[in-house]
C-alpha cells in the first residue's frame, strides 16, 4: 500500500471515528442535557438515564479511540490540536469526568438532594463537551494561528481559548448543542414508554425550530468564515445539501409521531454534516490562519509508512469486531424503558 494511500485511509478512519462519536454521543449528550427537564420524579429520571445507561461509556470510547488514532497516525495533528485547544479541552475533560461519575453515583444515595445534584452534573457535563466540541470544530474549519513550527503561536492559552469564542466558533458550539438536544429528544422518544415518551416527543417538536435556525446560521456563516466557497464552490455539493434535506424532512416525521424515522433523519443530518466538515478539511487536518504554507496536512503530519501499515492491519481486524459487539448491545437493550420502579435497574 502506498504511503499516500495509507495517509488518506487514516484520515478517513479518523473521520469515521469522529462521525461515529457525533452520532452516538450526540444523543447521549442530548439525553444528559434533557435529563433534569424531562424527568420530574426519581423513577422518571432513572428511566431517562437508563436509555443510555448501558451504552454511554462504550460510546465515549469512540472519542478516546479518535484521540488515540490521531496520536498514532498523525502525531503532529494530535500535538498541535491538543496543546492548542488546551483550556477548552481541560473544560471538556472536567465535563466528561463529572458526567461519567454522576451516572454511577447518582443512585448510590436515596437523598433527593444528592440525586438532583448529580443529575445536574450530568446535564452540565453533557452541555460543556457538546458546546466545546462544536466550537473547536468550527475553529478547525476556520483556521487557527499555527506558526511555521506547527505550534500555536505564543502567547496563547487563555487568549487562544478566548480566541476560540469568535462568532463563528460560538455559532458552531451552539448549533452542536441545539442539534444534540434534538437528537437526544428523538432518541428518548424512541426508547421511552408511556407518558415520558409523549413528553420527549413534545420536546423534540419544540427543539426542532431553534435547531434548524442554528443550522441555517452555521451554513451561512461558513461561507464567511471558512474557505468553502473557494475550495468547494458556492454550490457546496451533494453532501451538505443532503444533510440539510435530512434535517428538513425530519419535522415531518416528528409531527407524524414516526419516532424511528425522526431519529434516522436527524442522525443522517449529523453524520452528513460531519462528512461535509471532513471533506472541507481534506487533505488538511489543521488550517493555519497565518499562512497556508503552515497548514498541517495528512502528508506533513502523519506517522511513518511502517506505523500506518501496522495500524491498518490492527484496525482491519479489530474495528469490525468492535462494531459487531457494540451493535449487539444495542440489540440486546432494544426494549423500551418505562418509569416503573419494579423494572428499573438502579
Amino acid at each position: 500500500m502506498s504511503y499516500e494511500f495509507l495517509q488518506t485511509l487514516w484520515f478517513i478512519l479518523i473521520a469515521i471515528l469522529w462521525i461515529g462519536f457525533y452520532f452516538l454521543e450526540g444523543f447521549d449528550f442530548g439525553v444528559g442535557m434533557l435529563l433534569p427537564f424531562l424527568g420530574k420524579k426519581d423513577e422518571e429520571r432513572r428511566a431517562v438515564i437508563n436509555t443510555i445507561g448501558s451504552t454511554w461509556d462504550g460510546n465515549e470510547v469512540w472519542l478516546l479511540t479518535a484521540g488515540g488514532a490521531t496520536f498514532a497516525a498523525f502525531p503532529h495533528w494530535y500535538a498541535t490540536m491538543f496543546s492548542g485547544f488546551y483550556l477548552a479541552l481541560f473544560l471538556l475533560l472536567v465535563g466528561l469526568i463529572l458526567r461519567g461519575v454522576s451516572f454511577e453515583y447518582r443512585s448510590k444515595n436515596p437523598d433527593p438532594k444528592w440525586r438532583n445534584r448529580f443529575d445536574w452534573m450530568i446535564a452540565v457535563g453533557s452541555f460543556l463537551p457538546a458546546l466545546l466540541l462544536g466550537t473547536a470544530f468550527a475553529n478547525l474549519a476556520k483556521g487557527v494561528p499555527i506558526g511555521a513550527d506547527m505550534n500555536y503561536v505564543s502567547p496563547n492559552g487563555l487568549a487562544a481559548t478566548l480566541g476560540l469564542l469568535n462568532p463563528f466558533g460560538l455559532v458552531g458550539g451552539l448549533t452542536t448543542v441545539a442539534v444534540f438536544l434534538l437528537h437526544g429528544a428523538n432518541f428518548l422518544a424512541l426508547k421511552l414508554d408511556g407518558d415520558l415518551r409523549e413528553r420527549a416527543r413534545a420536546i423534540s417538536k419544540k427543539l426542532y425550530f431553534p435547531a434548524a435556525l442554528m443550522v441555517i446560521a452555521l451554513a451561512v456563516t461558513s461561507y464567511i468564515y471558512t474557505d468553502i466557497s473557494t475550495k468547494i464552490g458556492i454550490d457546496p455539493g451533494i453532501v451538505p445539501i443532503a444533510s440539510a434535506v435530512a434535517l428538513l424532512v425530519s419535522i415531518y416525521f416528528i409531527n407524524r409521531k414516526m419516532e424511528g424515522w425522526a431519529f434516522i433523519t436527524v442522525s443522517l443530518h449529523i453524520v452528513l454534516t460531519q462528512v461535509a466538515f471532513f471533506m472541507l478539511m481534506f487533505p488538511r487536518v489543521m488550517i493555519s490562519s497565518l499562512n497556508p504554507d503552515w497548514n498541517l496536512t495528512i502528508y506533513n503530519a502523519s506517522s511513518s509508512q511502517y506505523t500506518l501499515t501496522v495500524m491498518s492491519l490492527v484496525a482491519l481486524v479489530f474495528v469490525p469486531i468492535v462494531l459487531v459487539y457494540q451493535g449487539w448491545t444495542y440489540y440486546m437493550f432494544r426494549k423500551r424503558i418505562s418509569a416503573k420502579k419494579e423494572t428499573l435497574v438502579y
Binding site: Y86, L93, Y105, N109, Y152, M332, V345
Partner: protein, 463 residues
C-alpha cells in the same frame, strides 16, 4: 514555577491519582468474575451475595478509574506536545490499540453487566463480567507496553531528516522484555491490592460476627490469592532489577544511593544522609545483597552514580543525569518494605484462617483492616520510583523532559488546569471514599436490594 515544573506536577498528580483506582479495578474484576462463575456453577446464594457486594465496590471504584483515564490519554498532547511529535509513531500505536482493543471491550461489557441482569441470558451476563475484567487488564498491558518503550526504547530508528523516532519493528515494541516484566509486576499487584481490600473489609464484618456466610469465604479466597499475588509481585520486581541493571543503571544506582562503584555491592537497609545527600551520617548495610538484586549473583559490580554521570556526559553531552536521589531512595524502600509486609501478612492470614475461631484473636481486630492501605502506598511509591528514576529523560537516552513540554502553554494556563484538576479530583476522592465506606459497612443485604432504593421525589418543589 516554570511551565515544565507545572506540567510535571500536573502529570504526576493526575497519574498518581489515576493509579489509586486502577490496581483495584484490575484485581477486583477477576474476583467478581470468579464469584459469579461459582454462583453459576453451584447456585449457592452466598456466591450471589458475594458477587453483588464486591461488585458494588468494584463499580464505585471503576467509575473514577475510567474518567481519570481519559485525562491521561489527552494530556500527552495537551502538556507534552513535543514529546507527542517525537514519539507518536511508536507510543501512539499502543495507545490507539489500547482504546480499540481494551477500552471498547471493558466499557461495553461492563454496561452489559450492570444493566443486563435478567435482561440478557445468564451465560451472557457471566461472560460480560469476564470480558470487562479481561478488558481492564488488557488496557494495562498496552499502556505498560507504551511505558516500557519510554524506559527501554526498542524497535525504532531516529529519522535523520525530521529528528523523530520512527517505528521499525512492531513486534520488538510489543515484545519489549522490560515491558512484560512490568506487566507481570503490575497485574499481580492488581490482584494483591484487591486481595487486601477484601481481607480488610471481610475482617471488619467478621469481628462483628455478621454476614459470616459471605465474608468467611471471601476472606479465605483473598488470603490465598493475596499470598500468591504478593509473591509474584516480588518476583516481578526482582526481575525488573536485572533489566534495570542493563537498561537503566543510573536508576538502579539512584534507588540504592550508590555513589561509588561497588563490587560486590552491599544493600543499604537504611542510610541517613546529610542535606546534600552525598555524605552518609549513619547507615546499615548488608553485604552482597545489592549485587544479588541487580544481577542475580552475589559478586557482580554495581556502577555508582558518579561513574555513570561521567559515562553519560561522554555519551549524551554535558548535563545532570542524576535523578532526585532522596525520592528514588526512599520510594524504593517504602515499596519494598511494604511488599515484604504484604507477603508475610497474607501468608500469615492464610495460615491463621485455617484454625477455628481465628476471628476472635486479638490481632485480628486491627491487622487485616489497616492492611487495606498497604498496597496503596506501595503502588504510588512504585510509580514515582520508576518515573522519577528515569529523570532527566522522558524517553530514556533519546529525549529529555525539558524538551518534551508544549512550548505554547503559559504559566496561567497551567495554573488553571492544575488547580482545576486538584479541586475536582479532591472532591471526587471524598465522595468516592464516602461511598466505598458506606457500601462496605452496609454489607451484602444492601447490595442485594439496592434496586428498590428509590427516592420518593426529587426536591419536593418540582412535584
Amino acid at each position: 514555577m516554570n511551565p515544565i515544573t507545572l506540567s510535571r506536577w500536573q502529570f504526576g498528580l493526575t497519574t498518581i491519582y489515576h493509579w489509586l483506582f486502577v490496581p483495584l479495578t484490575l484485581g477486583l474484576g477477576w474476583f467478581v468474575a470468579y464469584m459469579q462463575t461459582r454462583y453459576y456453577q453451584t447456585r449457592d446464594e452466598n456466591y450471589k451475595k458475594m458477587t453483588k457486594f464486591w461488585g458494588k465496590l468494584y463499580l464505585i471504584n471503576f467509575a473514577i478509574g475510567v474518567v481519570t483515564g481519559i485525562v491521561q490519554e489527552f494530556q500527552f498532547g495537551m502538556n507534552w506536545s513535543e514529546y507527542s511529535r517525537f514519539v507518536g509513531d511508536i507510543f501512539g500505536a499502543p495507545l490507539a490499540i489500547e482504546a480499540l482493543l481494551a477500552f471498547f471491550m471493558e466499557s461495553t461489557f461492563l454496561g452489559v453487566w450492570i444493566f443486563g441482569e435478567g435482561k440478557v441470558p445468564e451465560k451472557v451476563h457471566l461472560a460480560a463480567i469476564w470480558l470487562a475484567a479481561i478488558g481492564s487488564n488488557l488496557s494495562a498491558v498496552w499502556i505498560l507496553i507504551a511505558n516500557g518503550w519510554m524506559q527501554h526504547p526498542v524497535g525504532y530508528a531516529i529519522n535523520e531528516v525530521t529528528g523523530r523516532a520512527e517505528m521499525t519493528d512492531f513486534i520488538a515494541v510489543i515484545g519489549n522484555p522490560k515491558a512484560w516484566v512490568f506487566i507481570w509486576h503490575t497485574l499481580a499487584d492488581g490482584l494483591a491490592t484487591a486481595s487486601f481490600l477484601i481481607i480488610g473489609v471481610s475482617a471488619w464484618h467478621l469481628i462483628r460476627k455478621q454476614y459470616t456466610e459471605v465474608f468467611k469465604p471471601s476472606f479465605q479466597m483473598a488470603a490465598l490469592v493475596g499470598t500468591i499475588a504478593s509473591v509474584f509481585v516480588f518476583l516481578g520486581g526482582h526481575t525488573m532489577g536485572q533489566y534495570m541493571y542493563e537498561a537503566q543503571p543510573m536508576k538502579l544506582a539512584a534507588l540504592e544511593a550508590i555513589w561509588e562503584t561497588e563490587q560486590p555491592a552491599s544493600f543499604s537497609i537504611i542510610t541517613i544522609g546529610d542535606l546534600t545527600g552525598r555524605q552518609e551520617v549513619w547507615s546499615l548495610h548488608v553485604p552482597y545483597v545489592m549485587s544479588f538484586l541487580a544481577c542475580n549473583n552475589f559478586s557482580c559490580e554495581v556502577k555508582g552514580v558518579d561513574q555513570l554521570q561521567t559515562e553519560y556526559e561522554a555519551k549524551y553531552g554535558p548535563g545532570n543525569y542524576i535523578p532526585l536521589m532522596v525520592v528514588t531512595y526512599w520510594t524504593f524502600r517504602i515499596m519494598m518494605t511494604i511488599g515484604f509486609i504484604m507477603m508475610a501478612a497474607a501468608a500469615w492470614l492464610l495460615f491463621a484462617a485455617r484454625r477455628a475461631g481465628y476471628e476472635n484473636a486479638k490481632w485480628f481486630k486491627f491487622l487485616p483492616f489497616w492492611a487495606i492501605a498497604l498496597p496503596y502506598f506501595a503502588n504510588v511509591s512504585g510509580w514515582v520510583l520508576t518515573e522519577m528514576g528515569r529523570q532527566p529523560w522522558i524517553v530514556f537516552g533519546l529525549l529529555k523532559v525539558q524538551d518534551a513540554v508544549s512550548p505554547n502553554l503559559t504559566i496561567l494556563d497551567l495554573w488553571i488546569s492544575l488547580v482545576g484538576y486538584t479541586a475536582v479530583y479532591g472532591i471526587l476522592a471524598a465522595v468516592m471514599f464516602g461511598l466505598m465506606k458506606k457500601y462496605a459497612v452496609a454489607g451484602p443485604d444492601a447490595a442485594m436490594h439496592e434496586s428498590v432504593d428509590v427516592a420518593p421525589s426529587l426536591l419536593g418543589a418540582q412535584d
